[in-house]
Symmetry: C3
Subunit: 477 residues, 3 copies
């Protein structure tokens, strides 16, 4: 016996009836605003080529690290979910057993109950109901029905990337590329005649982090694409400036920096040049690598002040914590773990130089919620250059967003925040994620109204700010 799949119109709104009534009115006033997605990881090729998406498993399961991590933790192997061992990139399945997409989907369906209480459940149910029109819940008994319906839909023109982009009412969507990327898909989009606004963002980790896989080769490639000789520190900086300008010419308004810590440093030129020489050798010490990353954050802030690109820092993830899994399957398989992160001392060298510059926008994120009230809200509530990024990754969830608002608003206010980021590779989930954020924000605002901290018209103004205006202003869109 199947159970109906219904997205309740009051989902995620506060339980209290009076507060819920306010939240409903606020939501009604903003739920049809277009989506501004200033930071994420979708593939620009989807929109450039506008080819149909793959089958259901390849679209919704295999690339979703939230799904992989949970199922893996409960005993499902990655090959059962379509993830191939790296040594097996020619197409054979691990152990010689082919796992086809329908089989992957069935395993997923059998385990779907383990997502109860998680945001993955919210996002996926939204996609099932709103994108694919499914009307029963996913479970073992409905696995084949789901697979058949989604497969069929993916063949229809209305489910191609550009059609979904339009249907999702996305006003602007930023992807994230390496400085080594030639941005061919972004160029193609510019000349395609299709009016969808898809822009890039500059993520220089591969050429500023000496511990990034292939760092030295990446510098060689940076020399090639920029025409600068990146064995020289000044030319390396010039190459970065050039690539930033090239990204900006294809719509980029921001950079993004995914460092293990938030450390920044300010080195004299000669010291920096000598450090650059050391970190471009074959053997690099952990201290030198950290110092170079720290120095480059400050350098990048200086470049942002000059060229106007908004700077984002996403620190605090211990990438690839599970070496067995990393060796066998590679990056981004759900084995990244947050770490305790300091901001007050770490950001000081950068802030000492640029913190008072209102012309610079530095958006800081965290995976360490203990820093919301203690460090980040006080910093953002003082430094003109600093803004708070929204609840990120593990905290991009109803309770995570509530903690973000409750722990930052009283010190940083709303106007030092920058709206929502979906930050996802999972294109179909973008409107689902914005839907969750809008509901939680309206619930939070409604609670301020019910407690008579805000008038309802003020809350309505703020709902528009949090949904739309703050992101556009902060990211200069």
């Amino acid at each position: 016996m199947t159970r109906p799949l219904v997205l309740h119109p009051d989902r995620l709104l506060p339980a209290d009836a009076d507060t819920r009534a306010v939240a409903r009115r606020l939501l009604a006033s903003i739920e049809h605003l277009p989506i501004v997605s200033p930071h994420g990881h979708t593939d620009p090729q989807w929109f450039a080529d506008n080819a149909p998406f793959d089958d259901p498993a390849q679209l919704l399961i295999t690339p979703d690290h939230y799904v992989l991590r949970m199922l893996y933790s409960l005993g499902v192997s990655l090959p059962q979910l379509g993830v191939r061992p790296q040594s097996d990139a020619d197409g054979e399945q691990a152990g010689g057993t082919a796992v086809d997409s329908r089989e992957i989907w069935r395993i997923f369906a059998e385990h779907y109950h383990v997502f109860r209480g998680t945001p993955s459940r919210l996002w996926l149910d939204w996609v099932f109901a709103e994108v694919f029109g499914l009307q029963v819940q996913l479970e073992a008994g409905t696995a084949d029905h789901y697979f058949d319906v989604i497969s069929a839909r993916l063949g229809e023109p209305a489910f191609r990337p550009r059609a979904l982009f339009d249907r999702f009412r996305i006003e602007v969507l930023a992807t994230t590329e390496s400085p080594l990327d030639d941005l061919r898909h972004h160029r193609a989009l510019r000349t395609s005649g299709w009016p969808g606004r898809i822009i890039t963002a500059f993520r220089p980790d591969p050429v500023v982090d000496p511990q990034y896989p292939g760092f030295r080769d990446n510098l060689t490639e940076l020399s090639r694409v920029s025409g600068c000789d990146c064995r020289s520190y000044p030319e390396y900086l010039e190459a970065l400036r050039q690539r930033r300008a090239y990204f900006a010419s294809l719509g980029a308004t921001s950079t993004d920096h995914g460092h293990p810590t938030a450390a920044t440093a300010h080195l004299e030129f000669a010291t920096a040049r000598a450090l650059f020489q050391r970190v471009t050798q074959a053997q690099v010490s952990a201290q030198d690598a950290e110092l170079f990353r720290a120095h480059m954050l400050t350098v990048m802030a200086g470049m942002s002040l000059a060229d106007g690109l908004v700077m984002q820092i996403h620190p605090g993830s211990w990438r690839n914590h599970n070496p067995q899994l990393f060796t066998r399957f590679g990056r981004d398989k759900g084995a990244d773990i947050p770490m305790r992160t300091d901001y007050v001392a770490a950001l000081k060298p950068l802030l000492d130089l640029y913190g008072n510059e209102a012309a610079l926008t530095l958006i800081v994120f965290t995976l360490d919620e203990s820093t919301y009230a203690r460090e980040l809200a006080p910093l953002a509530g003082h430094y003109p250059a600093l803004k708070l990024g929204p609840a990120w990754w593990f905290h991009d969830s109803p309770e995570g967003m509530r903690r973000f608002r409750r722990q930052t608003t009283e010190t940083a206010g709303f106007y030092n925040t920058v709206g929502f980021n979906d930050d996802t590779r999972a294109f179909c989930s973008i409107p689902a994620r914005h839907d969750v954020a809008r509901r939680i924000d309206c619930g939070y605002l409604a609670s301020l109204v019910t407690e008579h901290q805000l008038g309802e018209s003020e809350a309505a103004d703020l709902a528009v700010e949090l949904t739309y205006e703050l992101a556009k202003r902060a990211y200069r869109l």
Copy 2:
């Protein structure tokens, strides 16, 4: 004028009327499930001998470190609560003043209001009302009434340990013993004909922690009970394997490790043997002690993978923080203080070896709630071997449990948790503690239903899982 003592049927359920109604239905469906108590510190002799419990003060006050700590913090001396100085073990009272049980009880009653808002109040009121049938609140004016009623009851057959065990509907109760324990009471229980299921758990701290009082004597005793010569590292390991097997033969399904930190290490055999030689000398450095504990956690995980005992780690308590109190009165008098605890780096050596083993169950606890969302939920939501223990000790409380659910569920889900532990020496409070946990869990589930994140039938399934099934599966009961 006395005030009635009433346990309200809606106690601890959410205030919102709709949510409360759902919570009530969920609670009704699970409140009569038997108690599974997989981790605790009751005395097996109680059940082996089935002698009457001592008087009210000796049963409910003197051994309860939650009660002692609070009263001590507010100026009551430990001897006033029946705790004797260690030098005074022959029975004299401190300062020569005998404090009899009725007097202890009166002091307790006069101060009972200081427990307002604490879980001790909830547990004690439950015990007073449900176990002893008291109908007025405890205060100075009812102290003697309480003392008389409880004293009388304790003399009745229905209040002997086995009768209470049955009345509490305990399906299985684990105690915790040292490897040096001969488990005589557990053996006696096995041959007693009484069907109550009481099992042991293996807590090797006295023989794996070089800073444990009497460590070297403990190794001598371990040699004696095992027949291995524990001056040799290989024989020491063999002795531990033997004792684990002996514990398992008397029902143990788990081990427990109470280290100051969560540090683990993986040492080569020769290095470990040399370290063992150092830590078994009279003088041990703090670094060697920490490294040996860290190494032994990894060794124990390997043994658990081999023999199937579920492994529990309870780190992060600074034991005996108050040296004056410790010198005078000894351990477990309410002077243990939590510390900031790292898991991400600390557990990595162990996880690198065994984290991907679905056949291993490693249950991790914390006293540092900042790690719930940042470290523990991400780790448990990825590694197949890792599960999250419930809110522990200072956090075994309504708000503590709510924080646990709100901060772990979205990342780890429900199915990487293991149900409730009462973890208590206070036998009569066991059902009270499970009652609190069931109510808080039903309230949490109800809030997910009211916010339309879960259907009510899903919540009902989960209520059974959280109350009963998860603990049985995780602890292999």
Copy 3:
């Protein structure tokens, strides 16, 4: 079109109707209790001279670091808010542009919406409505109306400091002075015939912190005011004892210590004397400075045990984090940032000596909320000497207070807390801040009643304790 300014009678009370009804009754029973303000930073000269306050901007904007920090973070310069560069102390405005008070007020009014969701908004609206009788909300269009009304009121006798003190029903108000202060205003108040109780508190940071600006000159001045030769460590201690006694003679019942960390130390006399010699030289190492501060906290605890002054520790603020701002504008301009703070190891040397002394009262505060449940509640719930100060500074806010209660009560209880501190320089906001605290506390107590953890009469008792009695007892008023 203006919007009415209304302080809703239910503001800040829980949204749930049943809980709100309980909270309302609790609030009605305590809202008219007098204000006990045992810790703050108002200027005793106001009350000694009883001169009219300055204009609206000088009273309400320029000295309020909460207001400055938020407006500065959003691009308003400090001179626009009436803060003069230090080099400009002769009265010229920065850049030669004079900013008059009306202009400051207009800038403030234009930006007033940025305080939505912050406690500044709550406090300011209360002051506007209750103190000045304003009936429309502050915004650009009402800026001049506000300026005119407040300016006019400040000229009236009813708005002089003593009149407001009486109108605010303040029973006792503590200010905070340096040991070098001659307390002339406090002396004047004693002989003024005005019955308002205004007392001092002893804040020795300028003479116990070797990194305090002017430390060596301060010791010279301490020698002068005490008649002791403070180049000698024993005489330095004697000088401190003398000044404490002098402060106590003018009503002081407490000391206050604003250290960067909570570190304490216990040094032998000879070691301490040698350290004192080092830290009184021109060059002081950071380690010596920290050790001396740590040692002096323990020394001060000993003096408190002797003379009965209650000791307060306010650690964990990185003062003057923004060097550009500090150099240009000086201290207390909203650039202090909280830091992660340890208590368990840090306080141990002091607690080892004095923690078991019920005659000592040591009130500890924090800016690091992760320590509430993990460190401070367990410490306060054990050590007789230790009490928990209320939610402080960035956490003196509705959500901050809720976190304080929810994270400390279950372990420390209510009776190890000390009531509310307004801790403010902003005199008019004192009743506003107490109003917020009373409402949040009544709401918290009401939630315990609605969840049947407390009877309503118990909650009513506790409301009086939290509002009035605990502060009077803890601060020995």
